[in-house]
Point group: D2
């Protein structure tokens, strides 16, 4: 493991205490709880990522550091012949992302991206129902994805923007459910929540239409702030029916009084809302390693979602639909360029 | 028609403007809107019920007067050979009720009681689903029946009490859904809403267990006041599943804000909540007349519900379960007695 | 009244039996039920619309004929100085629509368009909640509007197409809720339900983004066929919360069995689903006449919705967002042209 | 820990990996997974409960064995001065239960009973809302408690019967929410699910009215088999409103198709449904030990629930309401008797 921040700790606990088939050999971070070292005294706690990545007994690495260091760590992993799990995105640069995806493929290294929402039990069930033909041919996917509040402005500044940081999960989900590739993107962006976000050069609200190769489409509605909390919904409409995935509420209680009938709010912190998806994605990562399966969300998926994010941004800037081919970069060209 | 109060007007409008197969020939009441007389100038508006009931062109009478006059009007109707629709109950006295039920049967006069809830579209659908075997053999029926607030204390004083006035609808519903007869009744009564109701000798809250002939049971929970409005729910549990009938809300809107997720309250006035049931019961009354069918809620049903109400009251007073046989009155005996 | 088809009969019944303040003096249609003539023997039943429209005792006319005759009847009404209620749209031609809207305004004739959904109790309540500030500033309106099945192909051929015939209600709703004007329209259209519709030159599925003057937007998703019935939903998201308007289901019953928890389908016929909205719109039309108020959905609203429908169609054809200014027609110019 | 069966393993994992403040020193069971011994090599794995209970470094014991051994282990714990967590019930005998409750109190040993449902987050929230006055004075508590299917008949035979084994949780919940003592119990029992259960001398379906000291009441409806799974619902009605606690469904997905609108079934295994309650009860047990607080569900609570179960059984047998005083046993008398 490289990186033991908020998300790193989740993966650490899941692997050590909830999942079979893998164990943590070494961890690299700059600081540790001393308690941790004592409890897990069989694990190497290092401050040097390279030391951890190159350990011979390490089969695979988990990259849970800030985005800016992802690319270098992925490259190091590939060079060391280790399989890789990396939190999304691989890199803010499309060229770099293209290169890394290509490098991993050529090196035969398994690469999984942390598109955890794919592995949420509700969304998995919805996807399975689609695959099982429960709603026939899918005609439209609708995603509502709103945060309970914007992250700190310093985070925003280095996030790559709303599309790259936040909507990228939804772009991946739309492709995942549709099982097709996006051909064109039309986005509208707004800055109506926080003036600081505008000053940081980002938008805080967006509406995106994804047009797939066969003309069917998805629509994604993003906001950095929903007054009622974390709003994560999905609707899939097909010629035989519709599947709706609702929010996970704090509790199942309903209060009836003279003012109305009142339900609890949605779970408002992503680590609560998606606790099960983090566990499941790690289970599937380990399963793909142990049983030599294809990764359920690989480098190509990371690249595609990044391309869509680039196209969305360009669409907001130009006011017109943008074809995905407009932002795609020839991967060999990219490799030459980024290897300079 | 005899009686053009709140409920009479509903039936009047339904027959004249919504339903085919019947027309109103004459109406008896003590007072009329002059407007009414002008609009419906083909109708006889009388102040004398007897004049209306005995009119040769009248085939059937609707009794929509206060309870205290029901018995005499039913008797008059039977003697005149008219079919009868009467708002529940026939009479507050069990003896009288027994007699009237028997008299109608012997005279071959069709008699329908205004157990309108049976004819609410939701409850009808629930009953049909039971009849269709959707939930297998019914094991328990659960009814929640709460008013939005107590009626005027003057009304309470002449109402016959909570069981006779309010729960009687639920007793009828339980029998109707179960399709069996009640053998035993256990009720608890409370006086916790309004001190005036206690002074009037009535309870305002009750919980009743109805045990049917085969040992299965129903439970009914009544209150004169629910802070959130008119609460009318039904659950039917069988060996293959359960049917729940929920409340009809004011609207389908949901408000999400920082305090929660808020739905509208239930329809809080019985004439709104049961508007469709009044229409349907009249449609079925006319249908039974025109096509010579059995009445869907007849004198026998009125009598049974009244017996249960008597047993419930006795149970509260004695603190023990009361067998229905304890309150039943030999009908011939009753006829002799009430004919004195 | 001109036109006594399906929708005409609804208005007729509502005015005669449910509403005060107006009465029907004369009706024009080509055929009548003889029964109707007998029951309403005070009403003139004519086969000549002009005879009805020009009657001196007529204050206002209701136009409930097929679309192709709307324009001529509206003109006749304006010339006769009668106030007008007309089912949407005024005309399939944008020029004609522009002219009619202008003519009515100049003649001081009150003109109301049958955008009945505005007057559905649920949508009215939602709109009122927005006006009351319950969700703060509106950031996005989302409409799902799907029919239970396509109308007959002959109807489609003369309908003006999906946007003009069906989505026009949603365009009006979006403007109504937003309380702002649309500046730009981006639509995607598909033909995936019925091959006959494609042959008739129409689409059967569409996704539309409406961008308002201030950059906020609405998204509307239309389909001619939802397997589960008539899907009419609205979401309004603001900085203080969200309002969702759900479907009206056939009943409130829920069946629990080993396969799941099952609710009834939405009301699947528009005349059931919107029964109350037809009543309310007529009540408001009469109220505006009697109390000399502004019409709640006037000629200008009809024109705006038609302009949006034109822009949506152009967007599908060109594959790009279309500014509303691109389809607007100078009204005086239009009047000259259509008066030729 | 004594007993490492299904429930024991849950507590073990929760203490070792999820909770702070306690650690497991020793475990007694007859058989172990060898894997377990290897992983937790600091823990004493014994086959002798006494060895474990009397260890000086043990502060508290967890009793997770079958019911028949509870009493002896509790006694041993009390004699050894250890605090005790014991799965419900303490014993099938009311005398023994009375004695144990008294013994623990006199010895100053903290004793907690595993009434885990009290600690389910939804029920805790409901209880908190009642305590916060959200619904005013509670007038009625309604509990629906149905298993997805009967346990093995061998289990039933030694379970103490439906009231002692299953409804006891609901009796505790009713007391817990009401915050008052039960004065009288009226139960109806049925045998309509499984003939084998009848042969084993038990019922499989029951309806119970609990009358509290002040006349208010609760109603509990139990079944050993609900076709749609594990049905665990609670309604609390007060003079200012109502709280409903619904089931936890498998997922939040809804499928709409031509047959209806379909939701997932409730979680159907008690260890899934109440996973969080097991964690919470252990957290509160540890907290009460570490911070010297009163146990949240103590010996007195265990005794009261057992008394109610006895009264319920007697009510079914006699067909009449049974006062709790009829089944209460003088504790000193009981101690003398059970110490023979």
């Amino acid at each position: 493991m490289v990186g033991m921040g908020r998300i790193g700790k989740i993966h650490f606990k899941n692997i050590q205490h909830q999942l079979a088939g893998a164990e943590i050999v070494a961890v690299a971070d700059l600081r540790y709880d001393t308690a941790l070292k004592e409890i897990y005294n069989g694990i190497l706690f290092s401050e040097n990522p390279d030391e951890v990545i190159t350990l011979p007994e390490v089969d695979a690495i988990l990259i849970c550091t800030p985005t800016s260091s992802h690319a270098a760590l992925i490259e190091k992993g590939i060079q060391s012949g280790k399989h890789i799990f990396c939190e999304k995105p691989m890199d803010l640069s499309l060229e770099k992302t293209t290169t890394l995806s290509e490098m991993a493929k050529e090196a035969g290294v398994k690469l999984m991206l942390g598109f955890n929402r794919r592995f949420d039990p509700d969304f998995m069930q919805a996807n399975q129902s689609v695959r099982d033909g429960k709603i026939g041919d899918v005609q439209i996917v609708k995603i509502t994805s709103r945060d309970p509040g914007p992250p700190p402005i310093e985070y925003i500044k280095h996030s790559g923007g709303l599309f790259m940081d936040m909507a990228i999960h939804d772009f991946d989900m739309a492709r995942h459910i549709m099982g097709k590739e996006v051909a064109e993107v039309y986005s509208r962006g707004l800055n109506i929540i926080d003036h600081e976000i505008r000053k940081a050069g980002d938008i805080d609200t967006a509406l995106t239409t994804l047009v797939f190769e066969d003309g069917t489409y998805a629509v994604i509605d993003n906001s950095r702030k929903a007054a009622y909390g974390y709003d994560q919904r999905l609707e899939i409409f097909g010629d035989k029916g519709m599947i709706k995935v609702g929010n996970n509420l704090h509790n199942q209680n309903v209060l009836f009084n003279q003012d109305g009938i009142h339900h609890a709010l949605p779970l408002d912190f992503f680590m609560d809302r998606y606790a099960k998806s983090y566990l499941k994605e790690m289970e599937l990562f380990i399963d793909a390693l142990v049983n030599d399966k294809e990764m359920p969300a690989g480098g190509e998926d990371g690249l595609k979602a990044t391309q869509i994010a680039y196209a969305a941004k360009m669409s907001v800037e130009t006011g017109r639909p943008v074809k995905l081919s407009e932002v795609m970069i020839n991967s060999h060209h990219a490799m030459e360029k980024t290897s300079d």
